[in-house]
Amino acid sequence: MLRRRLYGLLLALLTVTPAYAQLSIVGEWVGRYHEDFGDRVPGDVQGDLTGVPMNEAALRYAEAYDVRRGNLLVHQCEPYSLPHIYRGPLQFRIWEEKDPDTQEIIAYKEYIGTYMQYRTIWMDGRPHPPEYAPHTFMGFSTGKWNGDVLTVRTTHLKKEFYRRSGIPSSDQTSVVEHYIRHGNLLSHVMIITDPVYLSEPFVNSQEFVLMDRGNQSWLYNCEYVMEVPMDQTKVPHFLPGTHPFIDDFSKKFGLPPAAVKGGAESTYPEYRTKLEAGTPAITLRSGPPAAPRANEVRNEIETVHVQGNVYMLVGAGANIAVQIGEEGVLVVDTGAAATREKVLAAIRKLSTKPIRWVVNTSADLDHTGGNETVSQAGETVNGNPAAIIAHEGVLARMTETSRSVTERPLNTFLEPSRDFSFNREAILLYHFDGHTNGDSIVYFRRSDVIVAGDIFLTTTFPTVDAQGGGIDGIIEGLNRILDIAVPQYLQEGGTYVIPGHGRISDEADVTEYRDMLVIIRDRILDMVKRGMTLQQVKAARPALEYEGRYGTESGAKFIEAVFKNLGEKK
């Protein structure tokens, strides 16, 4: 009888308790700042570069970094990115999103009080997005429980910082996190890998306490204001060797500069012996070469919806934008000649309406190789092949290089801008003597998408054409994009930008690229003014901290082109 009762009790327990109950991490958590308070909360004087396994490129970046850059309108509302935010001041809330039918967890959601950021950790096994998808400050995260440890992998992050003093993180960063709960404490461990700025994984951990009593400190939005009146096209930075405050931290705490700037080596206990033996030299490792560029001419053309009526075609060499609607199809750039039939097929899959317009952002072969095929397959309202529009510099270049008449733009413009309406959308073209003397950017106003052409790339430094291109024109074009683009929230989303090559971007990505070009331009200009030769300029490596991201070879060509360009102006 007793045995029967026990079985009954066991059965009842099993019906209310699953076979394996997952630990819950749901709740409101607040940071404990007993470790690294100075760094994590108030921040210290400039020059704190300790404790991060930064490489040579990161040090160069930090030595040029002027904190006043954060006062620029395009920077002031940038939040901390994922690898940084948990080391900053924050409280956050976690909740679960469950499948209503199975009650399985689809995702963990986080709301982070600092800057009011949202984050999703997908638990349903979905893959990470392709490489051409936009990056965000929180990235794209997928998670998996391993016993009682939730392990999360994040990619698609934006460039930001590991420390406010200027140690940069790159958009190639990936993060593995472990969430480990012990009663009302949550241990959060991050293993950060960044081939551009770290010489080895950056591991850190922080503790959070479950708040058993709520508070109202959850609202912390950012409003754009002119904090300090300044020219928004000038990027505050220090020329190499001129940062006046870079050693302030080392002086304040009596630390040898070599220890402060020692990178990975200085984070290990053995470094103490080295310090005791004398002042060690700074021997930061160089970063690895930039990841090889994916083959941009592919067997298959992929189609990505950007937003509104605009799509991006990937795999045809340069990126192609396609706008579709009731009136027909407009195509911006047509890719390499080798892919022209596939491009046409991809456009036809998007819309069977007539192709009315083709716009060229430059005359480059990888942007215009499909002009003839796409134009001839379309027709204007009066029965001609689809009209090709471009700045007259494109026609001049195509004529000089004997491109066939059917490839050339016949509807050219010479004024700084041109606009027209198509598919009930305003389309604005802005011309710059950018990477060539025929560059245009194209703005789809209702869809809120800008096609940048080759003045903005996420793969390499820009090329500066010897015949009419110019670094100042490229920067002017990027500044125009920044004028037009409006982020949806916290420098993210809103206006999307299709680069000439690479992934879909937004204002924050263009800002980083603009900043980089201004900084390198200013450095080379300073060297030109000081009478340095090209060999001396190259040896000084004015693009060192960006080469791991955009390529050493591409950097060398860019430096040479800018040197010649600025030298001519001198």
């Binding site: 108030p42 921040g43 004087v45 001041p89 912390y220 904090e227 300090v228």
Partner: protein, 132 residues
């Protein structure tokens, strides 16, 4: 009970101050070991996060009007000290003491204290009236 309430209030105050620091380090942007004083007409008060800003028109030695940018705490932190978006108004003549910015031509100050001439309203003299 009283202790519990005190601890909760302290925690909230700490959180408010913690959030106010998320933008940049004051020590990085200003000389915290120096102070300077300016008096002028308030032409803008941006009560906002991450940090509030006051724009002040100040006459220099030559009688020329120069604009100074005064950085204050975030709205979250100042709000917990009783400061609101209505506290200061266009045209207020104020004297401000604070840390000077690290680049002199920026003409910026991190606010340590403020005094309004018309009614002697002040901030920065009472305990707790700090930003970090």
């Amino acid at each position: 009970m009283k202790l519990k309430l005190f601890v909760s209030a302290l925690a909230i105050a700490l959180l408010a101050s913690v959030q106010a620091s998320a933008h940049h380090s004051f020590a990085a942007a200003y000389f915290e070991d120096k102070t300077t004083q300016v008096e002028g007409k308030l032409v803008q008060f941006q009560f906002r996060n991450p940090h509030s800003f006051i724009q002040l028109e100040v006459k220099d030695d030559k009688g020329q009007i120069q604009r100074w940018s005064i950085e204050w705490g975030g709205a979250s932190q100042l709000g917990s000290q009783g400061v609101t978006s209505e506290t200061l108004k266009y045209g207020d003549i104020v004297t401000i003491i604070g840390n000077p910015g690290r680049v002199a031509e920026d003409r910026r100050i991190r606010m340590l204290s403020l005094r309004r001439k018309s009614d002697n309203f002040g901030w920065g003299q009472r305990p707790g009236e700090v930003v970090n």
